[in-house]
Amino acid sequence: MGEAVLAARDLSRSFGRSWAVRRVSVEMHAGTLTALTGDNGAGKSTLLGLLAGLLRPSEGQVAVFGEAFTGFFPADIRERVGFLGHLPFVYPDLSGRENLAFFRGLYRVDPAKAATDDALLAEVGLTDASHRLARTYSRGMTQRLALARMLLQDAPIWLLDEPSTGLDAAGQALLSRVLAEAKARGRCVVAVTHDLAPLGQIDREVRLRGGRLA
């Protein structure tokens, strides 16, 4: 399988008097989809935040492409990590299309490699709504837009927090199609979920209980 693209090395993070994540070591490889599962409060989202460099580990390291970090990643690593959090990271006062255009500029996306806004909007099924303000979107539509925002970055590492939130049946089909395609293109995908069905075919389930690997 070669070297791990993303790895948690003895990773711990405490909040107050308890461990949200405790001594988690796990390796993720290119072209695989890893599902992070567990009960509410098991530490799934915290682990994802640590893997994204959003949270500083109390102990341990995150290794990205073999390079170890303990906290916020440098720019060239941030560029290669796509993050879809539990908030959609979009602006309600911009239209779907404007949101994509803004993040495209911000993430200095290479126009030669990435899909166009039209293609992305069509892929997530927002073509008709692309000129409406994101404020007017339903929960599922906002999630589709957030997915498109992450797709345009075309990062080799994808970190997704409950990606199927608010999605209807068609949206879930879209999600599993997108994830299958990502795997085929060698992306390393990690998705926090409590429901495996919408993800399609997963390669591995990493189950957390009380912040530890179950």
Binding site: F83, G85, D93, T142
Partner: protein
């Protein structure tokens, strides 16, 4: 270089949203006008009292409505979590700080462009031609200083409970040098025949220079883990 590009990109986005919603501008401007009216009314200003009170009134208006503006700007960033997306972008935290600070500065200057002439009319104080440049320069330097500190603290406290109280509690003391210098210099602008207040312009410029360097550094150290 990518920092500047990122900052301008964020600024352009803020301007686009603001031109569309006018939310921050309207919030600040309405609040500022209310302050002027309530003050003028509550203190029952006559011509003599006006001269004494006007410079202070002007700066209280700038600082209070500026505080409100900073809070609104940050609320809009946080609404659907986009601020986190900005920080994660390769452009980095410095670009985010400069983009947001330039936006706050422009919004405040736009508000002042409308409110200051209105305030002068309301309290019927005359501004001699020779004082116009002084007033503009003072307002610009003072607003710049406020925008730097306000943007930094606004972003730092955006996720903190009790931020509505904490933001003014920490912002106002820090910007007092700007407030004092602003009041003294604007009083001189209204009455250029009076003795020139020495040392206040360097104080204001020094304040701006110091926080031009310090505020982005602190932002970079505190906004990411």
């Amino acid at each position: 270089m990518s920092t500047l590009r990122g900052a301008l990109h964020i600024l352009a986005k803020d301007l686009k949203v603001e031109l569309r919603t006018r939310e921050v501008f309207l919030t600040m401007t309405l609040f500022a006008i209310l302050i002027v009216v309530i003050f003028a009314f509550a203190f029952q200003l006559d011509a003599d009292a006006t001269r004494a009170v006007a410079p202070g009134l002007l700066w209280v208006t700038v600082v209070f409505s500026g505080n409100l503006g900073v809070a609104r700007v940050m609320d809009k960033e946080r609404e659907l979590g986009a601020f986190q997306g900005l920080l994660l972008a390769p452009a980095g935290p410095m670009a985010v700080f400069w983009g947001k600070a330039m936006g706050v500065l422009l919004f405040m200057l736009a508000m002042e462009l409308l409110v200051v002439p209105l305030a002068l009319i309301f309290v019927s104080i005359s501004l001699p031609t020779s004082g116009i440049l002084t007033l503009i320069l003072t307002l610009f330097l003072g607003t710049l200083g406020f925008a730097l500190v306000g943007t930094l603290f606004g972003a730092m406290l955006a996720d903190v409970r009790m931020r509505e109280v904490l933001l003014p509690v920490v912002v106002y003391p820090v910007v007092v040098p700007v407030l004092v210098a602003g009041v003294k210099l604007s009083a001189w602008a209204f009455d250029p025949a009076a003795e020139e207040p020495v040392g206040f312009l360097p104080l204001m410029a020094g304040f701006d220079l110091l926080y031009l360097a310090l505020a982005p550094w602190v932002f970079g150290r505190t906004m990411v883990e």
